[in-house]
C-alpha cells in the first residue's frame, strides 16, 4: 500500500502556498502600479493578473475551509499531495517571474504579459487538472 497523507494537511499547505504566492505577486503588482509602470493601462494590467491567480486561490481556500468544517480525516496518496504542492509552487513562481522578468525582455510589461498569458494559461489548465485529480483522488484510509 502506497504512503498516504491527510487531505486536510495537504490543503492547509496549499492554502499557505497560494496565500504567500498571491501576497508576493500582489505586492509586486501594487508596487508597479504605484510607480506608474502601468500608467494609462492599469486596468489592463490587473485584468491580466487577477484571472491568473484568483480562481485557483479561491478554490484552494474554499476547499480547505470546507474540509475543516467537515472534520474530514480522509487521506490521499502522498505522491499526489506532493505533486499538487509542487505544481502550485512552480506556477506561482512563474507568475512572480513574469512580473519581474519583463524589463529584461526589451518589451513593455503588458506586451510581455499578453505573450506569457499563452503559456501561463496552459499551465493553469494543467494545474487545475492536478488539483481536481487531487480532490477526486481522495480515499478513505
Amino acid at each position: 500500500m502506497s504512503r498516504s497523507i491527510e487531505v486536510s494537511r495537504v490543503q492547509r499547505h496549499l492554502v499557505w502556498i497560494w496565500s504567500i504566492g498571491f501576497f508576493a505577486c500582489f505586492s509586486v503588482m501594487l508596487a508597479l502600479t504605484v510607480c506608474g509602470t502601468f500608467e494609462g493601462n492599469v486596468q489592463e494590467a490587473w485584468s491580466w493578473f487577477m484571472p491568473t491567480i484568483l480562481p485557483t486561490l479561491t478554490v484552494a481556500i474554499s476547499a480547505a475551509i470546507s474540509q475543516t468544517r467537515a472534520a474530514d480525516r480522509r487521506r490521499v496518496s502522498s505522491f499526489l499531495g506532493s505533486f499538487a504542492r509542487l505544481a502550485s509552487s512552480v506556477y506561482l513562481l512563474l507568475v512572480l517571474l513574469n512580473l519581474l522578468v519583463w524589463p529584461l525582455t526589451g518589451k513593455g510589461p503588458l506586451t510581455w504579459f499578453k505573450t506569457s498569458a499563452l503559456w501561463l494559461g496552459a499551465l493553469q489548465g494543467i494545474l487545475g487538472g492536478v488539483l481536481a485529480m487531487f480532490l477526486a483522488g481522495q480515499r478513505d484510509p
Binding site: 510607480c35 494609462g40 524589463p103 513593455g108
Partner: protein, 289 residues
C-alpha cells in the same frame, strides 16, 4: 551627375550642335559632357565650383532635332546630353507647412543679409549642427525660399542633456532604450524611474511666419518614417535670402510615459527652448552670472 541621361550619337551625327543648344562643354571623369541648352524650357545646367555638373531644373527639354551623318569620335565615343531628359530627378522633400505644434521654440538673431544666399545660411546652420554632433540632419524645402534642417531623434535625460549612460541614439523604433544590464538599470525599468525622453530640432530658415498648425500633430512613427535630403539643391542654395527671413528652432520633445506606450510629443516642457539648445550643443552655454 547621376541625374543625366546618356545618349550615343555615332552614326547619326550631323556636325556640332547648334549654338543655342550648347551651353557648356565640360570634361569630367575623362568623359566629354555636352550640355544641350534648353532655352525656352527653363532648364539651365550648371557647373558647381568643384566642376560637378548640377542640373538645376528637373524638367525635360524639348525634343532635339534629328541628326544624320558621322561626327567626331571622342575617346569613349559618347556624347552626353545634359538636360535632354534629366527628369525624373527626386524632388526636394517639402517640410510640412505650417509645422505641427512644437514643445518650445527659439528664434535666433537674424543671421542673414540680403546679399547672402540660403547656401550661406545653410553653412552656418551646418556649423551649429556640427558643434552639436547632429550633422546628419535631414533637409526639407519650405516653399521655394526657405529650408528646414530636422535633426535625428536623440535620447535625453531629464536635464535635457543627451544620455551618455545608454547612448544618445541607442533606442529601438518603439522608443525602448537599449540599456546594459545592471541592477540599477533593471530597477529603473521595472519601476519606471527613467521613462524615455527624446528630442528633435527643426531649424527653419524661412521668410514665412512660423505658426503651429493646430490640426496636425507630429507622431513618433512619422518621425521615424520621414527622411530629409542630405544636401540643399543648388537652386535653393544659390537663392538670395528673401527679406524677413529668420532662423527659428522648433523643439519637439517626446516622452514615453511607460514601457508599453509609444513616445508622444509634449506640449509643455520643464525645459526652455534655450536650455534645450544649450544642452544639445547647438548654442554655447551662457556663462554663469
Amino acid at each position: 551627375m547621376a541625374l543625366l541621361d546618356m545618349r550615343e550619337l555615332d552614326a547619326t551625327w550631323a556636325g556640332p550642335p547648334r549654338a543655342d543648344e550648347c551651353l557648356a562643354l565640360s570634361r569630367a571623369s575623362a568623359v566629354f559632357l555636352l550640355l544641350v541648352a534648353c532655352s525656352g524650357s527653363g532648364a539651365q545646367p550648371a557647373l558647381s565650383a568643384s566642376g560637378v555638373l548640377e542640373p538645376s531644373v528637373a524638367q525635360p527639354c524639348p525634343s532635339l532635332p534629328a541628326r544624320t551623318g558621322s561626327g567626331p569620335k571622342y575617346p569613349n565615343g559618347l556624347w552626353l546630353y545634359g538636360c535632354e531628359s534629366r527628369a525624373p530627378s527626386t524632388p526636394m522633400p517639402q517640410f510640412d507647412w505650417p509645422p505641427p505644434p512644437w514643445t518650445a521654440h527659439h528664434t535666433l538673431a537674424p543671421a542673414a543679409t540680403a546679399q547672402e544666399t540660403l547656401g550661406d545660411v545653410f553653412l552656418r546652420v551646418r556649423s551649429m549642427l556640427r558643434h552639436a554632433d547632429l550633422l546628419d540632419a535631414g533637409l526639407f524645402a519650405i516653399g521655394d525660399d526657405g529650408f528646414a534642417a530636422v535633426t535625428r531623434v536623440e535620447s535625453i535625460g531629464d536635464d535635457g542633456r543627451p544620455r551618455v549612460d545608454t547612448g544618445r541614439f541607442a533606442f529601438d523604433p518603439d522608443g525602448n532604450i537599449q540599456r546594459k544590464f545592471s541592477l540599477k538599470n533593471y530597477l529603473d525599468i521595472l519601476f519606471n524611474r527613467s521613462p524615455g525622453r527624446f528630442r528633435l530640432f527643426a531649424i527653419l530658415v524661412t521668410p514665412s511666419v512660423v505658426a503651429p498648425n493646430a490640426n496636425s500633430t507630429i507622431t513618433w512613427a512619422q518621425v521615424h518614417r520621414t527622411r530629409g535630403a542630405a544636401q540643399l539643391p543648388s537652386s535653393l542654395a544659390s537663392a538670395k535670402v528673401a527679406p524677413g527671413t529668420s532662423v527659428t528652432v522648433l523643439v519637439y520633445e517626446f516622452l514615453k510615459p511607460t514601457p508599453d506606450s509609444a513616445p508622444a510629443v509634449l506640449t509643455e516642457s520643464q525645459l526652455s527652448a534655450q536650455q534645450h539648445l544649450t544642452t544639445a550643443g547647438l548654442l554655447p552655454e551662457s556663462p554663469a552670472p
